[in-house]
């Protein structure tokens, strides 16, 4: 997994890419602008961005300063494939 999904809670309007970079101390190349900022649970104010695995330590340090929340954090980005027709 070269990249990880960062899910975080945010109040107010959807944050911009620059704001997310600032919030989580990310360098420009560490946040995927094509992926954008996806509202994964708009009702709960949860958003997801795609960050480089190399930024995981810095992002984890920022997350450690926030109140504990199981919905916030760096999540896996596993491979997916069609489930058929079955292969031998």
């Amino acid at each position: 997994m070269d990249s990880l999904m960062l899910q975080f809670r945010h109040r107010g309007p959807t944050p911009g890419v620059d704001e997310v970079r600032r919030l989580f101390d990310l360098k420009e190349a560490e946040l995927d602008p094509d992926f954008g900022i996806i509202a994964t649970d708009p009702g709960a104010g949860l958003y997801t961005v795609l960050v480089a695995e190399s930024a995981s330590e810095r992002v984890s340090a920022v997350l450690a300063t926030r109140p504990p929340d199981p919905a916030e954090g760096l999540f896996g980005n596993p491979r997916i494939e069609p489930v058929g027709p079955p292969e031998l």
Partner: protein, 538 residues
Amino acid sequence: MAKVNVIVELRHQPSLAAAAFSTAPDAAKTLDPSSVPKIAGVSFDPTFAPAALPGLVERTAETVPYVSGQRFDLSLEPESATYIVRATVDENKVEQLAAHAAVVGVFADVEIQPTPICPGSPPLGNAADVERLLCTSALRAKGLDGTGVLLAIVDTGINLAHLAARGRPITLDAARSWVPGPSMTPGAAPVGHGTMCAFDASLAAPKATFLDIQLLRSTAGGPSPMSGVLSDAVRAYGHLCNVMLAPRRPGELRSLVVNNSWGMFHPSWDFPVGHPGNYSDNPNHPFNRIVAALEAAGADILFAAGNCGPTCPDGRCQGVTANAIYGANGHPAVLTIGGVDTTKAIVGYSTRGPGRLSRNKPDLCGFTHFQGSGVYAADGGTSAATPVVAGVVAAVRTRMPHNPGNPAVSPAAVRTLMRSTCQDLGAAGFDFDYGFGVVNGCEVARRFRVLWPFDRCQRYPWLCRLDRFERLDRPIPLPEPLDLGAEAAVGAGSPEDLDFETIVERSYAAGFEDGRKAAPGATSELSAGKKGCGCSGS
């Protein structure tokens, strides 16, 4: 005393030969009780007619063929034949039966089962068989054909030309489709897995409006050309949330069915269970959250159970067949679909429950491994079973459209309908093989009443009386449909407990009437172009 099933080989008797060589149909043949030994504790099956085993005639030195060296010939004489019959015998009577003068031998009559469908098996049945099994003609007779329903195929992309060439042209909404890269066009993907899914969904929902969500053509890629990564699915679902939540004009499509014939194959693809970033067991993973959000917005979401069944798993499962319904494929807010062949036998590779996010998975099974789209030798895997069921869900939504705020037509209500109409196979009720059973379009159709256009003046005569005093140049507005929200709160513990007949009847009261109550000639009046107060007799 334990009883055993045996095959008994008997010596020639004229009555046995007469039955065995009779030209009567097999169903009409029976066993003559006088032709079998009478021993206490031995019960011959009278419905099993004797079957002849030809005798062997030893060849002489002159007649042994030089090349083959075969030393016996089959005899065509009835007298040299022996005869097979079937019996149930007390265990301690087997030797006595075998020693009887009329008996050549006694053999075990072991239970046999059909070989399950496995990877590489040839197709069993075709698309017409699946349509027959789904009762698509009954569904269409009730107006259940996908009209007015969006059906998203989240996959490798759809090829419209291939579907048209196979006699299944579909309607595509390109504007609301989604592609991960700039050079990709909805409806023009290479012929592949997504095209197969669209074909199979169109069996029950030929009039649905398809969305081509080309998730597995991601540029992110993986070890195979058709693989992607889960973050692409988050993006695709973000798009579907926007589709679902976008403002609509009156009459625009509101129902969305989402087919997902993809998933993870092995736990090694993910963070381990217990890791905070894990996907397969973690309801807080971004993809699991957005699946829940899309369902809350009103979409009906279906996921394939997977191809990691214990009998003959897909090679990519690497032998892991337990707890193999990973992540959103077993989400509580989705319908998880296993696979059965066209004889309703579960296919050997269909992943069994429980699911990781929700224990009672799969929910139900759909048909798979049949000759259909022509993309592959067989439309196989739970990949094919899922769109077969998705088509039925889209058909249901034709007459049970999503209506925000009305729990009677919520995705949960549709899931309950699909589960409760299943043909229960396997253990009674829910089981981890079939879930609640096999999708049953006949029963789904039975839950809906026949559609009859009705005469508004017949139904609401007081409205038409106005016509005597003033001339209206517009149709008189129909009464508002009943709001079922209050009734749901009072009459049932949860939205899933509502009486479905009542829901459908009331939801459609404004537009249609039960055929039993409709006035004779109502259809012809409408078809003659009369509107509003233009009915006769008012």
